[in-house]
């Protein structure tokens, strides 16, 4: 906001509601304070900065920002990959091969897109664990939890549909394993199979194009929606409280916040580039529905449900085991309704105990699933 910029800003502000545009940007992670849309930008911003507030580009809240940065990276690299990718069983593998071998930096964009997705899922899980431990699901922050949980589920699905797209043998058989898990869950599995035109036993020729449409259309749209709703509710109810934190005021606060954002961006991209270069995901030969690749399991985040289904198949019919999974995931999303004890800092001992048990059980089932896969 220097003197020389005044002319353009004022010219624009007579023709556009700049405050509203800024307010929209704040809904996607730029800055979280509630902005009065009827006032001119400078006045509204001054007012927002006048209220004491905490930066969310520091401390444990950084996890949420990493999510926003990673989703932006995924949308950018995904848009680039879509310039070359062809979603048909005949040409999918060849088009990814073109990206990997002939397009400039194609291998890099492919690897960053893959690793960005893995990090995204991992960071979302860590973030929900922090919400749980610090009680960021109690009134009035129920929707913070619900948006976070739904965002995690959306990212599971986005990764799942994205994994099939290269149409490599690993992708194909990993997709088959995942479909078996999905099909075992009543209602949800039926809707899933209906949408992607497959069934429990096989991937049909429509599955690829439908996965692609869901991957580039529905799931990114839902992810952006949940991010928007998350920042909307944070603007109303304020950031989560952390013991001993000092609230700050003024334009230095905004400048420091933006500097923190820039540092975060550099670090996240640094981690992504390192992973993409040093631990690239292998690009295997084309999928062959008539030759199963040994040792291909479901994606890592589905190993626990996979292990549970495998273990319970001896004692429970598959629909019953699927119902258990459905109940567990539903309870996870609506946790704020289940634990409605009065607001206080952190989770109650009972919830915390249950949460620790849940995480340990999940990890054990993951190990079991990895062993039987």
């Amino acid at each position: 906001m220097n003197g020389e910029r005044t002319g353009i800003l004022e010219w624009l502000s007579r023709r556009l509601n700049l405050t509203e545009i800024f307010s929209l940007l704040t809904s996607f992670g730029l800055f979280y304070a509630e902005v009065d849309n009827r006032k001119p930008l400078r006045e509204a911003l001054g007012e927002a900065l006048g209220r004491p507030s905490q930066s969310y580009a520091r401390g444990p809240r950084i996890l949420g920002l990493i999510v926003v940065v990673l989703i932006a990276v995924e949308i950018l690299t995904g848009g680039l990959l879509a310039l070359y990718y062809l979603p048909t069983p005949e040409s999918a593998h060849a088009s990814v091969s073109t990206i990997m071998r002939h397009v400039g930096f194609g291998w890099f964009v492919h690897q960053v897109h893959f690793w960005g997705a893995q990090l995204l899922v991992a960071v979302l899980i860590l973030r929900l664990i922090r919400f749980l431990v610090q009680g960021v699901y109690r009134a009035p922050r129920e929707l913070v939890w619900v948006c976070g949980a739904l965002l995690l589920l959306v990212c599971f699905h986005a990764d799942l549909t994205g994994r099939i797209l290269p149409w490599t043998s690993g992708a194909y058989w990993s997709g088959v394993r995942a479909l078996e898990i999905i099909a075992a869950v009543p209602l949800y599995g039926d809707v899933g199979m209906f949408l992607i035109g497959g069934d429990q036993a096989s991937i049909s020729e429509l599955t690829l194009i439908r996965s692609y449409i869901l991957h580039i259309g529905l799931f990114p749209a839902l992810a952006v929606l949940f991010i928007y709703l998350h920042f909307s509710t944070v603007r109303r109810v304020g950031l989560s409280e952390i013991a001993g934190e000092v609230k700050e005021v003024g334009s230095d606060f905004l400048r420091n916040h933006l500097a923190n954002l820039a540092i975060l961006l550099v670090l996240v991209i640094g981690v992504l580039v390192t992973l993409a270069v040093l631990v690239p995901t292998p690009f295997l030969e084309e999928a062959d529905p008539f030759s199963t690749v040994p040792g291909v399991g479901p994606p890592w985040y589905l190993l626990a449900p996979f292990g549970f289904l495998e273990l319970s198949s001896a004692v429970l019919p598959s629909w019953a085991a699927g119902t258990v999974l459905l109940l567990v995931f539903s309870a996870f999303v609506v946790l704020p309704l289940l634990d409605r004890t009065r607001p206080r800092r952190g989770a109650g001992p009972l919830t915390l105990g249950l949460a620790v048990v849940a995480v340990v059980v999940w990890i054990l089932f993951t190990f079991y699933g990895a062993r039987v896969a």
Binding site: L80, T98, H102, G104, F105, F108, L258, A262, V266
Partner: protein, 154 residues
């Protein structure tokens, strides 16, 4: 992106260092921006493989259907062309239009040459004129095989 806020009374000697660090950070971020812009540009720029896809490619048939030493007349595009299987993996594509009077040349399997029925011209399998009136060699086409199919690039 400058950290001017956290030191209230900087010593005079610290100022050049601060300015230098500010420049360093900005220069680094600028290099970064340029690097990423260049990378995205290099990605969006279509590779040669994609350009050759945009060429007109026609499918002639399976490799099995054309034994070694035989030829097939392909009726496609503005002018017909001969595809000759010279060896096990060697295929030749030659225009079937004589460069003299635009008659359609015929395949002579015994001598492995192409003859023009109009004025007794003939061409070898490189398209070069062996004898007769044709003024120029025949136009050659690129032929390739993929997964047992023969393709000609027009």
């Amino acid at each position: 992106m400058n950290e001017a806020s956290d030191s209230d009374a900087p010593e005079p000697a610290a100022l050049p260092r601060r300015r230098f660090l500010n420049w360093l950070v900005r220069g680094f971020l600028a290099l970064w921006g340029v690097g990423f812009a260049w990378m995205i540009g290099a990605f969006v720029r279509a590779p040669r493989a994609a350009r050759s896809l945009a060429e007109r490619v026609i499918k002639v048939g399976t490799l099995e259907s054309l034994p070694v030493g035989q030829a097939r007349l392909v009726h496609h595009g503005k002018e017909p062309l001969w595809v000759v299987r010279v060896g096990e993996d060697t295929l030749v594509g030659l225009s079937a239009v004589c460069t003299h009077m635009r008659c359609i040349v015929t395949w002579d399997g015994d001598q492995q040459i192409l003859n023009c029925p109009c004025h007794d011209g003939s061409f070898d399998l490189n398209g070069n004129v062996l004898h007769g009136l044709p003024p120029r060699p025949l136009k050659r086409f690129k032929v390739e095989t993929q997964l047992g199919q023969i393709y000609v690039h027009l």
